[in-house]
Symmetry: C2
Subunit: 275 residues, 2 copies
């Protein structure tokens, strides 16, 4: 089998068994967009305004629901309405990182009830297999998908080498629920013993993407859509402030920037599958 990233999104959508993975791939195809926007604001009004602005141009909205200081559950209904209106997938970037019992509660319960509305969430593999078991006990019956953090884009991250390999092995052992990685490159060959031939198709969602900026002064490092999608074979680019800027009411400017990222990301993908 050819490596997943040489296939088209459409070919990959057909083969994926996990409903959330399939939904994401089909949304990418419908909208010709592998752009995800990460909405990192603390007020619900800004949160909804940004999502309504970028909605038509993205395949996915990434949320940090726990930074919204005026959160109430009514917001979730509005988020779901926007998801229907603009046709995007929701990914709560919770970075679960606890033992199985605890993450099952954090995922299903609390004021945020993440599992009930977020198609995709993510977790650090650091606790070992129990974190996947715990999350899957909640998410699989709901048709959700999980991304593992195999790498991070921050300076001095400990998610390297053997850690990354072990993350990929954990994903392979839990393919029904683990649909891919937050990472900076393909993971197809990572953690395989010599002679192994796994037919994986893990989705790679990549943060730390920018067209201009080089860092945020707090350890975040940036790469361009072409580097990420064409050169490194990643599937979805995640952009934050680079798209929505500082004026959340300027819909036109936000859409113009989102469209620029969408084009760059999509062209990088077209070049990748043509080559």
């Amino acid at each position: 089998m050819p490596s997943a990233h040489s296939l088209s999104y459409a070919q990959r959508a057909e083969k994926h068994e996990n409903p959330a993975a399939r939904l994401l791939l089909e949304t990418i195809i419908r909208k010709e967009s592998n752009l995800a926007v990460s909405v990192d604001v603390t007020k619900s009004e800004d949160f909804l305004a940004i999502i309504d602005a970028v909605g038509p141009l993205v395949c996915l909205i990434k949320t940090h629901i726990d930074i919204l200081e005026d959160f109430d559950y009514g917001l979730i209904k509005k988020l779901e309405e926007l998801s229907q209106k603009h046709d995007f997938v929701i990914f709560e970037d919770r970075k679960f990182a606890d033992i199985g019992n605890t993450v099952a509660l954090q995922y299903s319960s609390g004021v945020h009830k993440i599992a009930s509305w977020s198609h995709i969430t993510n977790a650090h593999p650091v606790p070992g297999p129990s974190i996947i078991t715990g999350l899957a006990s909640v998410g699989l019956p709901l048709g959700r998908g999980l991304l593992l953090l195999a790498e991070m884009s921050t300076k001095g991250t400990l998610a390297t080498g053997g850690y990354t390999e072990e993350a990929v092995r954990l994903a392979r052992a839990n393919k029904k629920f683990v649909i891919g990685f937050i990472a900076q490159r393909r993971m197809d060959a990572v953690g395989l013993a010599h002679g192994d031939n796994e037919e994986d198709d893990f989705l790679i969602l990549t943060p730390g993407v920018g067209l201009e900026v080089k860092g945020d002064g707090m350890g975040q490092q940036y790469r361009t859509p072409d580097e990420v999608v064409r050169q490194s074979g990643c599937d979805v680019i995640i952009v934050g402030r680079g798209v929505y800027g500082a004026d959340f009411k300027n819909v036109e400017a936000i859409r113009a920037r989102a469209e620029k990222y969408r084009q760059e990301g999509w062209n990088a993908y077209l070049k990748r599958v043509e080559s």
Copy 2:
């Protein structure tokens, strides 16, 4: 300097600069208790009932505020009142694990506003130094302290070897804010180059402690207070359901179990410093 765990809690309290570390050590001394109770329930009523029951016997209450489904900020006031009434330290076991900018928002903002009430919180070192910078920017001005997860008690954890060593190095480089570790043993010699002689006094808080049970079926493994405090030199034992059981209204039974753990933990400490 002798290794920190051969000193008494009182000797160590005098030397600690971080206010949260000092508060914890002084509370341990006042109450002759190195017992922390982890309150992992989803209803505010049960949460407060358990804390009121165990409060007199613990040095610290560990919370997962994000699993409370009926959370509202009024609960925090009640938690703080109990903390005053029973004299215990609050530790929100948030396991922050994101980049600096994001954790700063998660710590200070959202509906939970953790930094404003939790004396101590914790983080995974996996993102690298930026997670400490981000959290310290919020927590240090408030006199808070951070624990790093250098190890985990779950089966198959990736927090081993070089990962653990790097976690300890990160802590040493950030001693003003990082007051210790969630771990299963002393970290004094970990990650030191040959000939280094660091005068560290990191507090070791240890989950996975039980008197009888051996596991929760979801990857958690248990050790006794004596193994943890006397043999491994840890400072605080963290116990959950082993103390509060399944009947949250049975104050007497809960207190009896807490008292048993308190005695076991304290005796293990006395044996340690006497030897």
